[in-house]
């Protein structure tokens, strides 16, 4: 177990460094923005005479030197204070925590769908290389890879909600239906279907292409020939020998791309009015609510780090040769 501890420790230090940089970046962005924060805040509050602006400057310590301000800013964040949204009249942390569960549910499900689907499709294509099923999968992956994610969402709504009426087009659950327990759970699942498929499809395409290429490369290696020579069944060769080795580069990329998955959820949540961080971001963009935007940037960075640690652990689980370090 000390190995495990050491792994978590090294990961945590790395995470803290990344978050530190994100915080400094946030601070720089606030101060690099056109107009100083006091005038922005005054504008948000709807009043802007010189005295009020001066008072705000003093109140928020904006008359102090920059490094002092950075210190206070970091101090605030360490205490879990990510600022105050004048627009929504609530602390940013509260806004973020309200929205986090919905985004985590959406991105995690999409991630699992993309990985499982992508690896299965890629392997299927690699096993049938050159046959029609390979061509179909390759073309589909190529198309999904080139399609803007929000447009896929809109087209799925058009087909499955507007024309067929199978699935709800927006929201998290049916409002005012008074459902409880299992029924409510099923209702939420129904609402999740389209957003998860939309977000997952693009990454499924990425993982399909990767798995196919990597499985083809592995299949020509000597140990696969050996397995075949000793008369092992084709199914066992594919699952035990090819898949297990082909999956590693896919996981590496999946870990690196977790950040983009979280970013993609902004677009998907906007399309489906999914009440998560993405929707919050969209509203903050419309209202130019910078405090909320910077808070979202911070929280999504945390999410990405969590995703990275998960993929690292998966890596160790699949490949015993990889030492936790």
């Amino acid at each position: 177990m000390p190995q495990m501890l050491r792994f978590l420790f090294s990961r945590l230090t790395k995470a803290i460094v990344v978050l530190g940089v994100v915080v400094v970046l946030n601070f720089t962005l606030i101060h690099a923005a056109p107009g100083d924060p006091a005038t922005v805040m005054a504008g948000e509050a709807g009043a802007a005479d010189q005295m009020f602006v001066d008072q705000l400057r003093k109140q928020f310590g904006l008359d102090q030197p920059l490094y002092v301000q950075l210190g206070t800013y970091v101090g605030h964040i360490l205490q879990g204070d990510l600022g105050y949204s004048v627009r929504q009249q609530r602390p940013v942390v509260d806004l973020l925590l309200d929205r986090l569960p919905a985004t985590v549910a959406l991105t995690m499900s999409a991630f699992v769908l993309a990985l499982a689907g992508g690896i299965a499709m890629g392997l299927l294509a690699a096993v049938n290389v050159g046959k029609w099923s390979d061509s179909v999968i390759t073309v589909l992956a190529l198309l999904s890879y080139a399609t803007p994610i929000y447009w896929v969402g809109l087209m799925l709504v058009l087909v499955f909600s507007v024309n067929l009426g199978w699935l709800p087009a927006f929201g998290y659950e049916s409002i005012g239906a008074g459902k409880a327990g299992l029924e409510r759970f099923a209702d939420i699942l129904e609402h999740m279907a389209l957003p998860v498929v939309t977000l997952g499809l693009f990454y499924m395409a990425v993982y399909t292409r990767l798995t196919r290429a990597s499985a083809l490369e592995v299949s020509s290696m000597d140990f696969v020939k050996t397995a075949r020579a000793k008369g092992q069944s084709e199914w066992k060769i594919v699952t035990r020998h090819v898949l297990r080795n082909a999956i590693l580069p896919v996981l590496t990329v999946a870990g690196v791309q977790a950040g983009q998955l979280v970013g993609g959820s902004i677009l998907v949540e906007t399309v489906f009015a999914w009440p998560g961080l993405g929707r919050l971001t969209f509203d903050a963009v419309l209202q130019r609510d910078y405090q909320v935007l910077l808070g979202v940037f911070f929280v999504t960075s945390v999410l990405v780090i969590v995703f990275n640690i998960i993929t690292d652990l998966l890596y160790v689980l699949i490949d015993p040769r990889v030492e936790i370090a």
Partner: protein
């Protein structure tokens, strides 16, 4: 690099040729947008909510009666312009940092690679949204933001190439001859790793176009330029009544990105004929 073998290999690849045709068509559309669709794409051209082919408008009109086909033609300019310029900036930054890291190694390499890794970890799209929102949407802020999140993978790639090429004999010879670092980097090593750079650049243009369209979908596009993402985003609310308003601009994005991806892959296969044969086998 671009010799006869290369051209033949590229032209034998049906996907690559198809991609090239699509990209060429989009470029022509962007160049001749004013001739094909004279007048401002923001102006009313027919009745609002016109179906495709109504009022002589090929793809119909939007909520304010603007010609969708004209919007697509003029939007091609913005997409290509932002895709190309942000890629150029990202390639310059990525190649420079990657080259420095790979050439010098040691501490410089360590520092640059940590920095690069950081940019790969940070959620790209969120950063782009934050930057463009804070610095107000304009062509410049969009290009800078997209370039800022795109250079990291290229820096990694270039560093890898430099690391392997650095120990090759011709580089050792150049060092012995007393050539300066800059000369060795730009005249000896860089020309030898151009092909992977060209391949990733072509794929980066595609990603940049997707990023730009996502930004303008969220309402963070340049407010003075008609763009595809903006057309889809503004038609989103009337999807039930008017599918064509968001359908056709989306197809334009899809085709452009698909074309660029196909060209990128074709280039990759043509540069590495050995790899290609292996993949087919």
């Amino acid at each position: 690099m671009f010799n006869r073998d290369f051209t033949q290999a590229f032209l034998r690849n049906k996907g690559a040729v198809g991609g090239l045709v699509i990209v060429a068509a989009i470029i022509l559309l962007a160049l001749f947008a004013d001739l094909l669709f004279p007048g401002d794409p923001w102006d009313m051209a027919g009745a609002p909510f016109g179906h495709p082919f109504e009022d002589g408008l090929l793809f119909g009109s939007d909520m304010l009666g603007r010609d969708i086909a004209s919007g697509i033609a003029h939007g091609a300019r913005v997409s290509l312009l932002i895709g190309l310029t942000s890629t150029v900036v990202a390639v310059l930054v990525g190649v420079l940092l990657g080259a420095l890291a790979g050439f010098h190694g040691g501490r410089i390499d360590d520092a640059i690679m940590r920095f690069t890794e950081l940019f790969q970890t940070i959620p790209n799209f969120v950063l782009v949204v934050v930057i463009v929102a804070i610095f107000t949407p304009s062509l410049t802020s969009i290009v800078v933001a997209i370039a800022l999140v795109s250079w990291a993978p290229l820096a990694r790639l270039v560093r890898g190439e430099f690391l392997t090429l650095r120990s090759r004999e011709f580089v050792q010879a150049a060092i012995t001859c007393g050539q300066g670092n800059a000369t060795i980097i730009f005249r000896q090593i860089l020309p030898n790793c151009l092909s992977p750079i060209i391949v990733s650049a072509s794929l980066m243009v595609a990603t940049a176009i997707l990023l730009e369209s996502s930004l303008s979908f969220l309402g963070l596009g340049d407010p003075n330029a008609m763009s595809w993402g903006f057309m889809v985003g503004s038609a989103r609310t009337v999807l039930r009544q008017a599918w064509w308003m968001s359908f056709f601009p989306g197809v334009a994005i899809l085709l452009t990105v698909l074309g660029l991806n196909l060209v990128g892959e074709g280039l990759n296969d043509a540069f590495n004929p050995r790899l290609r044969r292996k993949r087919k086998a």
